[in-house]
């Protein structure tokens, strides 16, 4: 898989598809996902395209499927994913799918309707039953002269007359019973009182069990009312009022016996209805089962069919109307596979004439295709987020696999935090095939999951830099014994107890023999974590390290430009751009790196009083001055520095004017060659015209109209010159500012170390304060708080921050040395896996 270095060669090709076998050929190509189809009918609207009828049919089927899915969801069933991926159906299969799905939808609709009406009927019957039962309580109890127990405290009415007495009276008492929504009770009562007071008594009681409201579907405790009244007109008024309030009124049988009859009748009716309802529900469940089985496959099939027809709409018909022509971007490596797919498609559709593919030349820039596997995909995506590589430009992703985690780790260096990050990423990597991890819907989690290899490497490198900085949860690890000996210093200085009492900080002088025994084998000496001038030492070290790493990274970026210049056959740029850029960078900043290393090697603690300052030397180098107090680093430093500055300054005009002048000269040379050739014969310009794209226009113009060209030349030259001037200024100023920008490596690593230390000192230390065994118990919540804050602040916040800054360093400081990133990706036509509902 060598294409990670630069994008693959992609060519423009034409597919000649037989009308009969076009569908199956495109289906084969879609299964393999190789080509990107170009739209040959961009000006045609969607309704005027050739296969609009088929697309419409697919959409109708999809509507039916949506209805079926809705029904499934209402019934609480879950649609499983499609087990195997079916191919796109042929015409008659599609017809069958359509018929079956519509039939199922029809059945489902009918059954649902039946069920709803059965349910409504059942509810009414049960309400009636309750009404009768409750009503009996009022009308069958003999009313004592005292007040009977009232069901509702608000109602001051009770049947003041016992109906069994009513035969003795002139007035006949009638009853209205029904059911009313609980919210309307008080309004109903008030209205009744206002309208018919004195002529009725009303009592309300709640139904023992809640029932479903037909309108909203939620279950409410209905209120049963029983109104006893006398007088026909009052009765009509009451009925009208209850109509207004949407009450369900039921006929109330007068005598005990008839009530009992009605109730038993109701019981049996309810029984029968329940049985019927159960059977209906069973049938519904059966239909739903059928749907669950068949729907996933159908959906995938219809999706594929629709995609194929949309692609076929993009093709154009040739003159004889028998052949479809499609223009595709195809990777050159896959041309044989495409031919194979076409052959299979033709064979499947049973046509005798084969479809074929033919490559055509083009002057357009093809799309970029870089094949990645699950490991490299993460790194390629962070490069693509800045800009997709231009066609066949060198790809920064393979280097980012190492440099990105490394630069992250410089800003994040801590063994403990790196280990936590590494273990988290390891868990994600080991369980990457588990469906619960893959199909989570949380977007933030998916982002972390996509970058699991990235985080794995970041964690691993952070453990490494953690050992270099010697920090583990802000504590130093003493793997090797420290090289500094306090005992020797104490003996040498003979520190007395009074001296120790009055001096809070003591100096270890490395010039005294035995105090400093040589550099620590790996990383920073652990004694520095106990020193008060810890930061003084570390700052100097980290700043120099950042500058060195920055210049190496940028130099590497410039070197990558060589591959671009060679590949695009612009060798003049090697001498006229790469060389001056490299000279500028190395003469100034490469020399700074050299000074840093030279001072580290040559000067030791013995010369610490007179050690020269690199900063002052660097400033003097540019200003051509000298400072008496600052000793030179080596003999002959001043002339060397002068020479380097002159060299660097000399490279600037080369960078500024080199390429434009070269291009200008080349064009002029061709022009002077042109008219001479034209005099020879007419054949020559044609031969001239067959060169690469640019020169075709130039020679044609020169031959046809001699007058135009000088102006055109000047315009071109102005544009090239402007472009080159911008590039030069950007590069030279950029060198300085980008080098300084790398100091963020120092800044963020300092911030991380300090945050880590603050967290330990302010949180964890409180856990060690208790000296009795209770301290052990106190340590438990203290550690929990420390852990939560470590994850939240140091891992998540600092991790994201370091990630961002490492990304910025790559995108801006590294990539602007060689990367253009103006391409577009190849999006092959493939049947995407079924997206979730």
């Amino acid at each position: 898989m060598g294409s990670l270095f630069r994008s693959e060669e992609v060519c423009l090709a034409q597919l000649f598809l037989q009308s009969a076998s076009a569908y199956s050929c495109v289906s084969e190509l879609g299964e393999r996902g190789l080509l990107e189809f170009r739209d040959l009918n961009p000006k045609v609207s969607a309704f005027q395209r050739r296969f609009v009828g088929e697309v419409r049919r697919c959409e109708e089927m999809e509507k039916t499927f949506t209805f079926l899915q809705q029904e499934l969801r209402d019934a609480g069933r879950v649609l499983g994913p499609c087990p195997e991926s079916p191919r796109a159906p042929l015409a008659r299969e599609a017809l069958r799918v359509q018929e079956q799905s519509e039939q199922l939808a029809q059945e489902l609709r009918e059954v649902s309707r039946n069920r709803a009406s059965l349910r409504g009927r059942l509810r009414e019957l049960r309400q009636y039953l309750h009404v009768l039962r409750e009503g009996q309580r009022f009308t069958s109890l003999p009313a004592p002269l005292g007040s009977p127990p009232r069901p509702r405290a608000l109602s001051e009415r009770e049947p003041i007359l016992d109906p069994s007495l009513h035969q003795h009276l002139d007035r006949k008492i009638n009853f209205v019973v029904g059911v009313i929504h609980p919210w309307r009770v008080s309004a109903f009562e008030r209205l009744l009182w206002r309208a018919c007071r004195g002529y009725l008594v009303a009592s309300f009681v709640e139904m023992p069990e809640p029932m479903e409201d037909p309108a909203t579907g939620e279950s409410i405790t209905w209120v049963i009312f029983l109104i006893s009244y006398w007088g026909e007109q009052i009765g009509q008024k009451i009925r009208k009022i209850s109509d207004c309030f949407h009450c369900q009124v039921y006929p109330y049988p007068e005598s005990e016996a008839s009530r009992a009859d009605t109730m038993s009748g109701l019981h049996s009716q309810i029984q029968d209805l329940s049985v019927v309802l159960e059977e209906t529900e069973q049938y519904l469940a059966q239909v739903l089962d059928k749907v669950v089985l068949a729907l996933p496959t159908w959906r995938v099939q219809v999706q594929k069919m629709k995609a194929i027809y949309l692609v076929l709409n993009q093709c154009s018909f040739d003159v004889t109307e028998k052949c479809l022509i499609a223009e595709v971007w195809c990777p050159v490596r896959d041309l044989t596979q495409v031919q194979d797919a076409l052959r299979q498609g033709s064979y499947k559709s049973g046509s005798s004439v084969e479809c074929f593919v033919q490559r055509i030349p083009t002057s357009e820039s093809p799309p970029t295709l870089i094949r990645t596997n699950k490991f490299t995909a993460g790194f390629q995506s962070i490069v693509d987020a800045y800009g997709v590589a231009s066609y066949q430009e060198v790809n920064p992703a393979p280097y980012a696999i190492i440099t990105f985690p490394f630069i992250f780790a410089i800003m994040f260096g801590d063994v403990g935090h790196g280990l936590l990050m590494f273990l988290f990423a390891l868990w994600m990597v080991l369980y990457e095939n588990s469906p619960s991890l893959r199909q989570a819907s949380n977007e933030i989690w998916l982002t972390f999951f996509e970058g699991r290899y990235l985080i794995l490497l970041m964690g691993a490198f952070s453990i490494y830099t953690g050992f270099i900085y010697n920090e583990c949860f802000s504590k130093a690890t003493v793997i090797f014994p420290s090289a500094w000996s306090v005992a020797t210093m104490a003996n040498h200085s003979s520190w007395s107890s009074d001296y120790l009492a009055t001096h809070p900080s003591l100096t270890l002088d490395p010039n005294v023999t035995g105090v400093f025994q040589g550099p620590y084998p790996f990383g920073i000496d652990p004694i520095w974590s106990l020193a008060t001038n810890h930061l003084n030492f570390l700052n100097s070290f980290k700043m120099k390290m950042s500058v060195v790493l920055g210049i190496v990274h940028m130099g590497f970026g410039i070197m990558l430009g060589i591959f671009n210049h060679v590949h695009f056959r612009q060798r003049h740029r090697l001498v006229l751009e790469f060389l001056p850029e490299m000279v500028f960078l190395l003469a100034l900043f490469g020399y700074l790196v050299f000074l840093i290393f030279y001072k580290w090697i040559k000067f030791s603690a013995a010369d610490s009083m007179v050690a020269p300052s690199i900063l002052i030397h660097f400033i003097d180098m540019f200003l051509f001055t000298s400072n008496a107090g600052n000793l030179p680093l080596y003999r002959g430093q001043v002339p060397v520095q002068t020479a380097l500055v002159v060299l660097a300054l000399a490279s600037v005009p080369v960078l500024l004017l080199g390429t434009p002048l070269y291009l200008c000269c080349r064009r002029r040379a061709r022009r002077t060659g042109g008219p001479a050739l034209a005099a020879v014969g007419e054949q020559e310009p044609l031969l001239e015209g067959q060169e690469a794209g640019n020169s075709v226009n130039a020679t044609k113009e020169d031959v046809e109209s001699g007058g135009h060209s000088p102006d055109a030349e000047h315009l071109d030259f102005a544009e090239i010159f402007m472009h080159q001037a911008i590039h030069t200024i950007e590069y030279c100023l950029g060198c300085v500012s980008n080098t300084a920008s790398y100091l963020r490596l120092w800044a963020l690593s300092l911030a991380h170390a300090q945050l880590s230390e603050v967290l330990w000192t302010m949180v964890m230390r409180n856990g060690f304060v208790g000296l009795s065994y209770v301290g052990g118990v106190v340590l438990v919540p203290v550690f929990a708080a420390f852990a939560v804050l470590t994850v939240a602040i140091l891992l998540v916040m600092e991790g994201l921050s370091a990630f961002l800054h490492a990304l910025r360093l790559h995108w801006v400081e590294f990539q602007n040395k060689f990367y253009v990133g103006a391409g577009y990706k190849l999006c092959p036509f493939a049947f995407a896996p079924d997206a979730s509902e």
Binding site: F473, A476, M764, G767, F768, G775, V780, A784, A787
Partner: protein, 98 residues
């Protein structure tokens, strides 16, 4: 019998991770305190008088802190066991619903 399940699956997982980290880190801290590591001097709650008459008193303080660390590690091991049980009960409940 009252259900023993009091945490959800995510809380049980968090508890397990925290306990594992706690056990490992506190055991290591305890060991380092026990060997009187100089890097941890700031964390030991000493007073001015502990510096008289040799390092013995400081060493006792170190050891006391290390015992506290071990106790906390033991408590975290219990917490880890509890989270593990909760996680298992959650899994069983998930299977039973089906």
């Amino acid at each position: 019998m009252v259900s023993l399940l009091c945490c959800g699956p995510k809380m049980a997982a968090c508890g397990l991770v925290l306990s594992a980290w706690g056990v490992v880190m506190l055991v290591l801290l305890g060991i380092f305190f026990n060997v009187h590591s100089a890097v941890l001097i700031e964390d030991v709650p000493f007073t001015e008088e502990d510096f008289k008459d040799g390092p013995e008193r400081i060493y006792r303080l170190y050891e006391q802190v290390s015992y506290n660390c071990f106790i906390a590690a033991g408590l975290y091991a219990l917490l880890g066991g509890f989270s593990l049980c909760q996680g298992r009960l959650n899994k069983r409940k998930e299977y039973m619903v089906r």
